[in-house]
Subunit: 641 residues, 2 copies
Amino acid sequence: MTAIKITLPDGSAREYKKGITAGEVAFSIGRRLGEDALIAKINGKMKDLFIPINEDSALQIITYKNKEGIDVFRHSTAHLLAHAVVELFPDAKPTIGPAIEDGFYYDFGISHNFTPEDLEKIGQRMQEIAEKNHKVERMELSESEAKSIFRGNKYKIEMIEELQRESQPISAYRQGDFTDLCRGPHLPSTGKLKAFKLTKTSAAYWRGDSKNDQLQRIYGITFPEKGMLDAHLKSAEEAEKRDHRKLGKELEWFNFFEESPGAPFFYPKGAIIYNELLKFLREEYKKRGYNEVITPLLYEKSLWETSGHWQHYKENMFVIEIEGKEFSLKPMNCPSHILIYKSKTRSYKDLPLRIADFAPLHRNELSGVLAGLTRVRKMSQDDAHIFIAPEQIEDEIFKVLEFTNYIYKEVFDFEFEVELSTRPEKFMGSMEDWNKAEDSLKKALEKKGMGYKIKDGEGAFYGPKIDFHIKDAIGRRWQLATIQLDSQLPQRFDATYIGADNTKHNVVMIHRALLGSLERFIGILVEHYAGKLPLWLAPVQIKILTVADRFEKYADGIKKKIEKNGLRVEIDARTESVGYKVREAQANKIPLILTVGEKEENNGTVAVRTSDNKVYFDVKAGELLKKILENVEGKKVRFEI
Amino acid sequence: MTAIKITLPDGSAREYKKGITAGEVAFSIGRRLGEDALIAKINGKMKDLFIPINEDSALQIITYKNKEGIDVFRHSTAHLLAHAVVELFPDAKPTIGPAIEDGFYYDFGISHNFTPEDLEKIGQRMQEIAEKNHKVERMELSESEAKSIFRGNKYKIEMIEELQRESQPISAYRQGDFTDLCRGPHLPSTGKLKAFKLTKTSAAYWRGDSKNDQLQRIYGITFPEKGMLDAHLKSAEEAEKRDHRKLGKELEWFNFFEESPGAPFFYPKGAIIYNELLKFLREEYKKRGYNEVITPLLYEKSLWETSGHWQHYKENMFVIEIEGKEFSLKPMNCPSHILIYKSKTRSYKDLPLRIADFAPLHRNELSGVLAGLTRVRKMSQDDAHIFIAPEQIEDEIFKVLEFTNYIYKEVFDFEFEVELSTRPEKFMGSMEDWNKAEDSLKKALEKKGMGYKIKDGEGAFYGPKIDFHIKDAIGRRWQLATIQLDSQLPQRFDATYIGADNTKHNVVMIHRALLGSLERFIGILVEHYAGKLPLWLAPVQIKILTVADRFEKYADGIKKKIEKNGLRVEIDARTESVGYKVREAQANKIPLILTVGEKEENNGTVAVRTSDNKVYFDVKAGELLKKILENVEGKKVRFEI
């Protein structure tokens, strides 16, 4: 009996007898780790916990906390699914069943289309198999052994022949009576799987090719604890309720048509939201010294060659031929702004020069990845390029951080996180300039008192950047603002300024978009607020409901006074019950619902219901208007009296 | 001697002896007509005045008042030019010399490039030849006669052979020693030409094809009286001073780059003008019940097939292939708005539904015809489509006329003319519907008290329309608003509404743009006002000049007060003379120039200079601000105290 040395991630080493398994090592370190262990990383390779270790090795126990652990957990649940399916549908031919973004799926060759009732039954059978706590075993097979095990399943036979052709090992995993061709690794037993749910079915094609056999796909999600599954289901339900595509359509704010994939139609109410955001940004631009420009959308190839987009980004651009020359719809504004910058000689006295633009941008996203407002082909960014001298970096970045903080914290009351991405391995420019630039960014962040994480080496090759991620009301993270320093693009265009020393210098650019794209931002806002937008942004801000039609005149007088102040107000004077009218206004996400009846008319008051469903009775109409104007003027998120 | 009968346009007939010429008839009617006569229309054909008339004929004397008269006048001046050129440059080979839009040109085969001095000399020689008052003669020639006359001029030989091939008569015109191959007709003598000017030279190609010989072209203008030439030159000079391309660049309002032909870049100051126009329109839209939408720019071919654009307008659209399908950048908004209209069931209660859109439109204009802001490839229209029931035509058209009148007359103080174009020969829909529709348009025009001309048969095949033409400050006419009735496009898309009778009806559409395109409108405004925009539209509205730097603080106080009211104001506190600073501010077309010095500071006043160059001294600052706000609020064209 020989001893071997196992080195753990913290650098400590222990001796074990040869042939020990990673699972046993985990228990030897602690019971909790033993129970949480899913697979093991042995000398850099992912292995099953139950494989004997026969030599000195570096070992890391992988749990659900690791990305690799989550993937294996999901993949083992896919095996469990296939196990249940072949028991219930003996004709089904398992093909492949990978872990995906938020769960797993398994594709089956079967003439039957799975029904919701089937999913119910399959899920129960999975539960039963899991509870039997079958041991999972790995088998290494010859081609003929494998073909014998999987005879009758042409998909597996095809895969076996492919592995053979590519001289790859052929392995399979067995749990109880079920064996699946698989590279592994897997969980050591089915008992580890406790909290899963099959979510939907769809058609699929063998190897994703519509010329091949059609298959039936089952999707599912899985978690190590029931509590996690429940939380996920609840948040998915909440996310579905808030889904901006659903709300946008229901509320008639925006919609999509197949004639223009990935390009939203903002209906009148949605266009109000869009234009209010633009108005807000323009007011801020005026205060903060930004200059808006209006620019063309189509540019000749030569411009994109100079900028480098033709070489590195062409597949994302829509290309048009005009009179024998190639043009492209612009995917970003930078080159347009450099043309404007270069249209005259610039002096250091002109800097910082802040050029803002809301031009529609087009990016050639595949139709398969388009998703509502958050992944589109057409959008407008709240884009600006700031041209500065290198010594202005810190000051100007500070101003941009200040602007971002104002929007995120003061206006939208978002929680957010900040990341600073620094010099990558491959970079352009001098080390000294990089150090100075990163230093300026850090100083600006610290001066603003903004906590930040450093993403080491994750900057672009042409400069460091600062990213902002907000956390929405149901805890999802969205990347929004990016502030990118760039000294390379100005050099490609030879964009310079005359310094105080009367000689030419290379100008530095800041690319920055604070909302990101207006389309995406609106999508996120709708989900964050579940449609209940702040008063200043809501398409209809106020709805006045009459208790009976004889109060319509009184309601109308109030409406006129409110309207005169530029607010968006409607009356509902239908002869429906107040309760019905309130529910409808709430369904339409109206921030302020005013009710007027006899008492109100006599007292010159209204009853007010806010989107938080707080009710204030007998509020003087003039008093309310003052509060409303203060709220709108101050761009408050909530309305209180 | 036989008598013949000549019938005149008024129907009267006179007898003349056979062989009389049209020129003689003209003199017999009146001396003035005789002198003004240029050519004659005999039995519907244009003929020389000096051709004998040998049979009963209908005769119209053509003078400079007729389009045909102007063309012949110009064409005869082109012959005069060629006459002078061959005298001065015996090597020059005349090719062709037509009348064009605003004058004439002649192309010569010659190795020499004409200089401005050459033009001077040629013009003088033309004057001398004209004064000799050579009689002009027409000759009908055989091919060999013609070839003999034009031997040595390969271009004329080529033309002679072509005429022969096409069995067309070969004719030439002689004046003094100079003979030109020409179909005619021509003026009877060179003495009729008195007031002409050669304007420029350029290169050209034989038959306009760059593969052929290069030729030298000389352009000129010509008028029957010196006064008309002088007036034209003066107005051309005025037009050049006002040229929006020149002013746009000088004032840094907008510019063009070769990377994006036909698509303007609005610089910060130009973008202010653009956005102020948008703001103005949006305010009006709110008052007038229009709903703005924001729509995609790229649409799949099938949409354009339904609308008919693919069949009839494809060459004007920019086409892009995406994932194997053809898309086009929209050249107009109508189909987008029909998609929105059709996105839900519409009731008669929803009508009129007014959908407005400022989406950028793209039209594939040839690069050769692009001209500043007035002929572009990218533009935004102040476009709206109004969906109505047929019985709402008159009311809604009246509202649109009211809106147009408000913009043209109240806001911009334009003189304008209105034209109603009626049913063309080929039309769709029933005669009855057409009559009703035309009647409704007339009633609306009459109700609004708008005088109009009828353009008989010039409506589109799908409906009648109303056009507006404004007259600018130097007398040029520009077509702007179009109000087009259309019942065909809604039918192509099957766009309907549920009537009060609970059954489906076809909806009618009004296409209307009042400014036309914002780009073109801005171009016209700049030329109309020679850059001196009304106060509310000017990018910088007010400039405060200090008499000496010690008054900067006082100036700054005033600036802050003005700025707080959302106005655009700058200070010029440089240590330059006031005269210099005033001239610079005027060159920058600043509507209000305020000067502050000791007296003003002591009295709390300013001196005000308006764009009309009126000066008001010692105006109380508060009083001025009130006037300014009234002026901006009221969108006045002029500023007065």
